[in-house]
Amino acid sequence: MLIAATLAVLVAMILAIIRGIVGPTLYDRILAVNMFGTKTVLLLSLLGFVMGRPEFLDIAIVYALINFISVVGVLRYSGTFELKQPSAESKEE
């Protein structure tokens, strides 16, 4: 059962990569990266059990955290998500 779940996660990873390569919009790619990150967390947890050393789950925790940080970073710097500042622009209006 563990092996079947590992294979399923691998298949989902492949599908997410295809969407990430095909695009077409920026958001599709971010979505694919996010999904890929979640699937990596699952793959790592499963791998620990398949290889018989399940105490290495720390890595999966780091992945879950880093995944969030990279999604926030992408949104922040892709110009889609600006932190608006009360600059001269808004004063002029």
Binding site: R29, Y63, I66, I69, V74, P86
Partner: protein
Amino acid sequence: MIGLLIDITLLTLLVGVAIAIARMKDLFAVAMLAGIYGLLTASFFVAMDAVDVAFTEAAVGAGISTLLMFVVITMTGRSEDPVRHKPLLALLVVTITGSLLIFGTLDMPYFGAPDAPIHTHVAPRYINDSMQEVGVINLVTAVLASYRAFDTFGEVVVVFTAGIGVLALLSVARRREDDAVIELVNDSMHEQHLILRIVTKMLIPFILLFALYVQFHGDFGPGGGFQAGVIFASAIFLYALLFGLSTARRVINQSIIRLVAAVGILLYGCVGVVSMLNGGSFLDYNVLSSDPIAGQHLGILLIEWGVGCTVASVMVIIFFNFAGRQEDNQKAQNEEDIDANRAL
């Protein structure tokens, strides 16, 4: 069997993603695929039993390098010039080099062979004797911090130097910012992204705590100064991303963080000097305490602290300088736009 299958699948995916990166014109997409590439590499490292390496690669390859790439792309422009220099010639060079290298691999011992030369020289000593000599369960930590401590010292100095280089290239002399304006900005930003901010606020203490766990758990499981430093820094990145750089600058004092980067290396070097003063050789921890094993533990603890401090503060310095540069550029751009509008 399943291990082999995972190994082959991940490697094939890596090649696919790398080809996609080579063909992509949109640099944002390239950076995102580079993030996927980092995650794939890290999964591969876990499948190859290199848990400590996977730990580092997860935080660095997927998190920090993608983030830096994004900041830079916002400054340098998003799309690549379609003109390439003579792709045919490049392809020829690459094919010839590649086939020569593949010809070279034909003589190599097969993957995973236990009698390969690499496994027969120094590795058995590390695996069999390190428990008596160093007394640390995690062999990677034992080799990193004790057997090859001098090498690691060099690497930390390289990291520190890179931090100084970025500081020299990108730091901008900064006026004192008006606190009232920052308050105003914070208030106005609080309305937007409320959910993200609240979730982040809950996560950040957890990430910091986890970084400390990784720092001190390095003797018993995957972890250590390098990983902990990177994770600690990424918590600060998250804060800076969502609450604005100027707020983060007020929380993390820049001159103190520079001091910490230097103190980390100093701590590392001092451990070496103290062991020399006690009659051992440089970074020989056995003499630090009356019991050699206790001395080893003390030495490893101290130098891991040094590594953690330096790596975390250098990463923070790098990110703050990049992001600060980007913010300044954007501000200048906005002012130009407003001037242009006025002229119209």
